[in-house]
């Protein structure tokens, strides 16, 4: 028979298991040995068959689905290749395979810095522990390819001692510190979302490709736009319109905090890692995926509606957001192309400057809504508000460009190119996809196997050191 007093102390020892896991061990298997339920569900992420109306784990070519993005991202990596994510299990592999990382045939080659690895692997935790964040970020992706091998896993979120949640990567803690908050003060409950906020957030590369989250002014689209404006920051100059653009990357956490679930204390883990019962025991399901593949545990503990109705709720919200988001995309595409036309007619920087500033802001708002894949459900109203403002700005930009055209003597419609498919659009902006794919193929065949060989060697050495009774200190170095 239980007494509450006894039970509460018992609870505290739950995971005070002594393991020999090194906190820097980046291999899921090394941790998984002690936690078979969590490991097994984690491993289920290898399965990428699930597909919902807009999302899921199947890789989908988003540029093919929506060729407008090719024009919007012209001049930037995302116009080459942009896929729907497949899940944590594939994080490293996807970085190697995307055309955005090009084909660096030797250490030091571009186009991307090592910073890209940051959110893809706990090997990064190990390297940063060793060399410091600044040093790591200042390397190239190709410099570190042989060091980064394990996809996101246990060491990304857990302390080895007691399996409590932790912020393993520096950027989030640095950001909060700038804002006067100490991550170590956050409660366990908050950590159930903050571990995700290490990566599922908008970021940019500062000096020497230092990873920064631009939250100093706040987390809405307007707040972050102000942050970038103040610093005169641009990710790239759009080759068609010549507007100084800002890229939004997955502001999932930021958008989520404006939604009703966050406001009611629901955390990311509640829906994406709900409890599961096996033999009457609860544990956290580590198959992180679309909750629509697991409605019973992810939603129905809190909502008694049928699966069909809950799915409809999600699709309804997504449909509404996509409807107005697409309107905004259409205007933006035309505006870039008409701006290009104005330059061709000899527009001056002075004539164009207002319009370009408006394009920057309109597209930023669009991207804030588009880049957060779950946002259409996490906080649909905030996205609708942001898109509404984006529509207003984009039309205003287009209006300004029309006025410039009139000044330049052009009236009536602007002749627009046919950019209605991924192929046509990429051709128009001068992307030679075949060439890029051929280079990538060479890289994957010639370079990556060498990276994997070095990794295998390294990891084998660790295991030997771990088994070696004479070895002192950490078996990882």
């Amino acid at each position: 028979t239980y007494s509450i007093v006894e039970r509460r102390t018992a609870g505290e020892f739950a995971y005070a298991i002594t393991t020999d896991i090194d906190r820097l061990d980046p291999r899921a298997e090394a941790w998984g040995r002690y936690f078979p339920r969590q490991f097994n569900t984690y491993a289920q992420m290898a399965d990428t068959t699930f597909r919902s109306k807009y999302l899921g784990s199947q890789r989908r070519d988003l540029l093919d689905v929506n060729p407008r993005m090719v024009i919007l991202f012209a001049g930037y990596g995302f116009s080459r290749d942009y896929n729907l994510s497949r899940g944590h299990y594939y994080s490293v592999q996807d970085v190697r395979e995307t055309l955005r990382t090009g084909a660096p045939m030797k250490a030091g080659d571009g186009p991307q810095p090592a910073t890209c690895w940051t959110c893809k692997s706990p090997d990064v935790v190990r390297l940063i522990d060793d060399m410091g964040a600044g040093e790591f970020y200042s390397l190239m992706l190709s410099d570190t390819g042989h060091e980064i091998a394990n996809p996101i896993n246990c060491a990304s979120c857990h302390e080895a001692e007691d399996m409590s949640l932790k912020i393993a990567l520096p950027a989030l803690a640095e950001t909060f510190a700038r804002m006067g908050q100490d991550v170590s003060g956050f409660s366990h409950q908050q950590m159930r979302s903050l571990t995700c906020a290490q990566c599922h957030v908008e970021y940019y590369f500062g000096e020497n490709n230092y990873l920064i989250f631009p939250w100093d002014e706040g987390m809405t689209a307007e707040d972050m736009a102000r942050y970038f404006d103040k610093r005169g920051f641009a990710d790239w100059i759009h080759p068609l319109s010549k507007a100084p653009m800002i890229k939004a990357q997955h502001p999932d956490y930021e958008v989520f905090t404006t939604g009703i679930h966050y406001q009611r204390g629901v955390s990311c883990a509640d829906c994406h890692m709900p409890y599961k019962t096996e033999g009457g025991m609860k544990f956290t399901d580590h198959k992180i995926q679309s909750p629509l593949n697991n409605i019973a545990a992810a939603c129905q503990t809190c909502h008694r509606q049928s699966e069909a109705e809950l799915i409809r709720n999600v699709y309804d919200r997504q449909d509404m957001i996509y409807e107005i988001r697409t309107k905004l995309e259409d205007v933006l595409v035309k505006t870039h192309l008409e701006a290009e036309f104005a330059w061709k007619l000899g527009a001056t920087e002075e004539q164009m400057s207002e319009a370009l500033h408006l394009i920057r802001h309109a597209q930023w708002r669009w991207d804030y809504a588009a880049a957060t894949h779950g946002g259409s459900f996490h906080a649909p109203l905030e996205l609708a508000r942001t898109i509404g403002n984006g529509l207003d700005l984009a039309h205003e930009a287009r209006r300004k460009i029309t006025a410039v055209l009139v000044e330049l003597g052009h009236t009536g419609d602007v002749p627009l190119p046919d950019v209605s498919t991924k192929e046509k659009a990429q051709k128009y902006i001068g992307i030679d996809l075949e060439q890029l794919e051929a280079n990538k193929e060479r890289f994957l065949v010639e370079i990556v196997p060498e990276w994997l060989r070095l990794t295998a060697e390294r990891q084998q050495r660790w295991d030997e050191q771990r088994r070696d009774p004479d070895h002192e200190g950490s078996y990882i170095q």
């Binding site: 509460r8 739950a14 366990h188 409950q189 204390g265 544990f283 809190c302």
Partner: protein, 173 residues
């Protein structure tokens, strides 16, 4: 004067069936029809077979606390009911929530032993350090709507009237 007061208090206790607080039979809670929705929802829940009102609503860790709590709570409910100031909707007080949370954990300790939800106390919840069981299990056991609107036609045991038949006939005319 004091005698009259004691007498009145005794009358209120008897008529309002406050003494029934000392029993564990759910029907005694419904002695007050304001408890109707809670009874009806519990009656249709999976807990009917396993837990009575008091299994959840009264501390079970210590025999003295158990009865002190019951007496305090029972007196407050009886008083409020008698004074006709029942809040609508009724919402659990802090002491009540503390007891219920502990009772959920008491029964479901095994299930929750390896996850943090099993270790969260009411006080931690107040500090934003976790959630109550029924923040997730929102339907356990009373459903999500706490008013007669949720169960307008619910059948609950109608309390025996303490009024003599003849008096009722007259008053009801």
């Amino acid at each position: 004067m004091a005698g009259a007061f004691t007498g009145l208090a005794a009358y209120a206790l008897v008529v309002s069936n406050a003494v029934s607080y000392l029993s564990d039979n759910p029907a005694t809670c419904v002695n007050c029809h304001v408890m109707g929705p809670q009874y009806a929802t519990w009656f249709h829940s999976s807990h009917r077979e396993h837990a009575t009102c008091n299994d959840c609503h009264v501390p079970q860790d210590n025999i003295i606390k158990h009865y002190v709590f019951k007496a305090q709570d029972g007196l407050r409910h009886a008083t409020i009911f008698t004074l006709n100031t029942t809040p609508d909707p009724i919402i659990m007080h802090e002491a009540g929530q503390r007891a219920v949370q502990a009772n959920c954990q008491r029964c479901h300790d095994h299930t929750n032993q390896h996850v943090t939800s099993g270790k969260i106390s009411y006080d931690q919840v107040q500090k934003g350090e976790g959630r109550l069981c029924w923040d997730c299990h929102r339907d356990v056991p009373h459903g999500t709507v706490r008013s007669t609107a949720s169960v307008p036609h619910a059948r609950i045991p109608i309390p025996q009237s303490p009024m003599p038949e003849w008096l009722r006939t007259i008053t009801n005319r």
